[in-house]
Amino acid sequence: MTPSGGLWNGHRVPFTLLGGYLGAGKTTVVNHVVRNPLGRRLVALVNDVAAINVDAALIADHVGTTLSLTNGCVCCAIADDFAQTLEQIRAMPEPPDHVLMELSGVGEPARVAPWANTAGFRLDGIVVVADTDQIVELADRDYIGDTIAAQLASADLVLSTKADLAADGGAAARSLIRSITTAPIIEVINGVIDADVVLGLDPPRTDPSRTVLPRMVPGTNRHRAAPVGRYETSIVDVGAATLAELEHLLVGLPTDVIRAKGLVQCSDQVVPIEAHAVGRRRAVRRRGDLDLSRADNRLVVIRLA
């Protein structure tokens, strides 16, 4: 069906949830992504705008609990409740390219997910940050152990931070996470992570230069030479698949796929079909709002290297 009327004339902004306990490194990830949004006009909803740490030169405006950056990104404090917070975004005349919401330390992403898939927004995926050095103890701690497990169980992707600090190189943390979820685990050092990993390849890339990974990200600190994660990109040609075949192909992608995205003209469909993977999450969607000519029948796939 063709969307008509309503907010942004039916356009829905991809919405990523970022979970993880206090101290896991969520803010560090947000800080990195808003500094290096790779061309997106990102809205980052955060618990504490004061924790957003960017160069003064990057700040365009700071009004109340909203920080606007010169690169087009906006950081807003999550105020009072989700309904009011999301209305602040819906009040924008032009939709942003993406929304990233940082949950509280006890936020359970699976329970919050319906908010990411309502008026104006489409759930992209759930990314959970786990502190390599802390997660094993947290998962066994009084009161919150089951919350930590629920966060990991809901993750489409796990970002494992501070692996360089763990005495065992992160083996115990990996073992714990693996006992809870099959989601890909990406090791993150100093919060340096490619925005395409956290936020996906949305909208589907038409500029091939944007799909060449891995690459160096312009760093702002002494770790500028660090490779951006350990992953590689490939292109999968879908050909003339039916919708069922496309779904089969998507579900059959290996478990180490971090992200996959593509717009496909299925042989049995009249509207383009978007194929979307975020780690464990695999979905196809009818995109009647996009022109069929944009379908290039290939998936851009980012995998763990």
């Binding site: 009011q84 359970e108 919150i144 919350t147």
Partner: protein
């Protein structure tokens, strides 16, 4: 400016002051009680004051104090009531409610005809599908009223709305959408029901209006009017609004400064509601805003929320947890709303700055976390009269009440749950044994914890007589008695909704009993609660209230 004073003669004055439990009259000057006794005694002591016989045929008690409510109870009356049961409005008039779909449609047609702007949406509230088991309210029912005007029916639970096709078309989802909580009919199109807040937010303008009305002074006036109707002279806002800026504080003080404002409002600060600053700064802010308090708008106490609700399966429970799903699968534990470390940092700062903390704890595991946190704060800083209070405290065990007593803490027990959800707690959430000791007033007494009982309005309707009735009788909606051993006496329940409620708000030196020197806040009842059959407590007529010596009246 001193007034001459007045003597209110009553059928009986029930003071709840042990020294003078009953009297014929109460003398008042400048909003303060001069004394209680016979008219002769009062005149002998205070001179030839005039005698007012407004309450000559009524029983005067200390005005009821609702220590856990929300101003939404007043805000929601911005729209017309469409519930099943007749309900008193803030104007004191009885709404007859809608017992059939036809009556709902008639109500909507009448309201539709009153609106001039054809695009203005029409909202009603209080619809309860539980009483219409045969048919499900859907867009097609509402489309009969208007195919152009958006219509929104808010259900009693506040977790569901039903909207018409015009509203779905305005928001662009009349043909379908992939949002969770939007059921579709046989034709694949949404039937008009939007379940839970994420789906409800599809009705953007109507949900936004609900938030906007909370910041409307008229809502606070209706809240106070509602209090007057049910005999409360002090009502509370337990932290659902923000108290950060001057404007946010002025909303309360300005509304309550209007002549004849018929109740005292106590607004608690919730640090999780976007209150900026470190824990110390927030505690200092809370202390500072006490100076902004006025006689009828009070600040300076804090509220935090640790877990969710039992009926929503989001309260944090200790083993053995919730009963399984009907299909036998185990339900997960509920949710935390604050990290234990953040809760501890806030609690400790408030305690050190001598700010009383009220904490929402429905489940017994949340109570454990509160007690652990409070114990650490209390051990590290000596403040004997802290009055920290466990709110709702529905599944609190005897062992936890013993700990609470040793720590000098108070409880505010959600007795209304027995009536409204007791049957569900017995059969669906926790089973008959734990349901029988839910909201355990008698256990709290036995273990030495001072407590109030509350409505959590608008979660359940405001009304201290009804809340007392719940604690005294423990009768469920189906008519069963749930946990008869936890029933309390009328005297105990009366103290719970007056002086003990005032105590946990740090106002028991001002209100809660009728005695010399306290504020002249009274409720006038048609019967003496000590004289009626306890099962008739909720049916006692409320004839009026006095706040600060002024007889309150209905809204102009």
């Amino acid at each position: 400016m001193s007034q001459p004073g007045i003597i209110h003669r009553a059928r009986r004055v029930v003071t709840l002051d042990h020294a003078v439990p009953t009297a014929e009259a109460v003398a008042v000057r400048d909003g303060v009680i001069l004394g209680v006794g016979s008219v002769e005694q009062m005149r002998a002591a205070w001179g030839p004051l005039p005698v007012d016989d407004t309450f000559a045929d009524s029983v005067l008690l200390p005005g009821f104090v609702e220590a856990h409510s929300h101003s939404l109870e007043g805000a929601i009356w911005a729209w017309e009531y469409a519930g099943y049961f007749p309900r008193l409005g803030p104007d004191g008039e009885l709404r007859k409610g809608c017992q059939t779909f036809d009556e709902l449609i008639d109500l909507l047609r009448r309201l539709d005809a009153e609106l001039d702007d054809p695009t203005e949406s029409l909202t009603v509230w209080g619809f309860d599908p539980i009483y219409f088991p045969g048919e499900r309210l859907a867009a097609h029912h509402l489309d009969v009223v208007s195919e152009t005007r958006p219509i929104c029916v808010i259900h009693a639970s506040l977790h569901l709305i039903t909207v018409n096709t015009a509203l779905m078309e305005r928001e662009g989802f009349a043909d379908g959408c992939d949002v969770e909580g939007v059921p579709v009919g046989g034709d694949g199109r949404p039937i008009g029901e939007l379940q839970e807040p994420p789906a409800m937010s599809l009705a953007r303008r109507e949900m936004l209006a609900l938030w906007e009305v909370l910041a409307d002074p008229a809502s606070l006036r209706r809240f106070a009017d509602m209090a007057r109707v049910v005999g409360c002279t002090t009502v509370t806002e337990l932290g659902a609004t923000r108290l950060s800026t001057d404007d946010e504080l002025a909303l309360w003080t300005d509304a309550a400064a209007v002549d004849g404002f018929p109740a005292r409002l106590v607004a608690l600060l919730n640090p999780a509601r976007g209150q900026p600053g470190t824990p110390d700064e927030i505690a200092q802010h809370t202390v500072a805003i006490r100076a902004r308090s006025t006689p009828r708008a009070r600040f300076g106490v804090v509220k935090m929320v640790l877990d969710g609700s039992i009926q929503g399966f989001t309260a944090r429970l200790n083993a053995p947890g919730y009963l399984p799903h009907p299909d036998g699968t185990q339900r997960p534990n509920g949710i935390w709303l604050i990290e234990p470390e953040q809760f501890s940092a806030w609690f400790d700062a408030f305690h050190r700055h001598h700010v009383t903390v009220h904490t929402h704890v429905n489940g017994d595991q949340a109570v454990d976390l509160l007690l652990d946190t409070a114990e650490a704060a209390i051990a590290s800083h000596s403040w004997l009269d802290h009055r920290h209070t466990a709110q709702h405290t529905q599944l609190t065990t005897a062992a936890q009440y013993r700990r609470m007593a040793r720590l000098g803490m108070n409880a505010n027990i959600f007795s209304n749950h027995i009536f409204y959800w007791g049957d569900q707690h017995r059969s669906i959430t926790v089973g008959p044994d734990r349901a029988a000791r839910m909201d355990a007033c008698s256990t709290a007494d036995r273990e030495g914890v001072r407590y109030s009982v509350h409505s959590d309005a608008s979660v359940t309707p405001l009304g201290s007589l009804h809340t007392m009735w719940c604690a005294v009788n423990r009768v469920t909606a189906s008519g069963d008695v749930l946990g008869p051993d936890e029933r309390i006496s009328v005297d105990r329940a009366l103290r719970a909704v007056t002086v003990d409620a005032a105590h946990q708000l740090r106002m028991d030196h001002e209100i809660g009993t009728i005695e010399a020197g306290k504020l002249a806040d009274f409720v006038a009842l048609g019967e003496d609660p000590y004289d009626v059959d306890p099962i008739a407590l909720k049916d006692i007529e409320v004839r009026g209230t006095v706040v600060g010596g002024e007889i309150t009246g209905p809204p102009a």
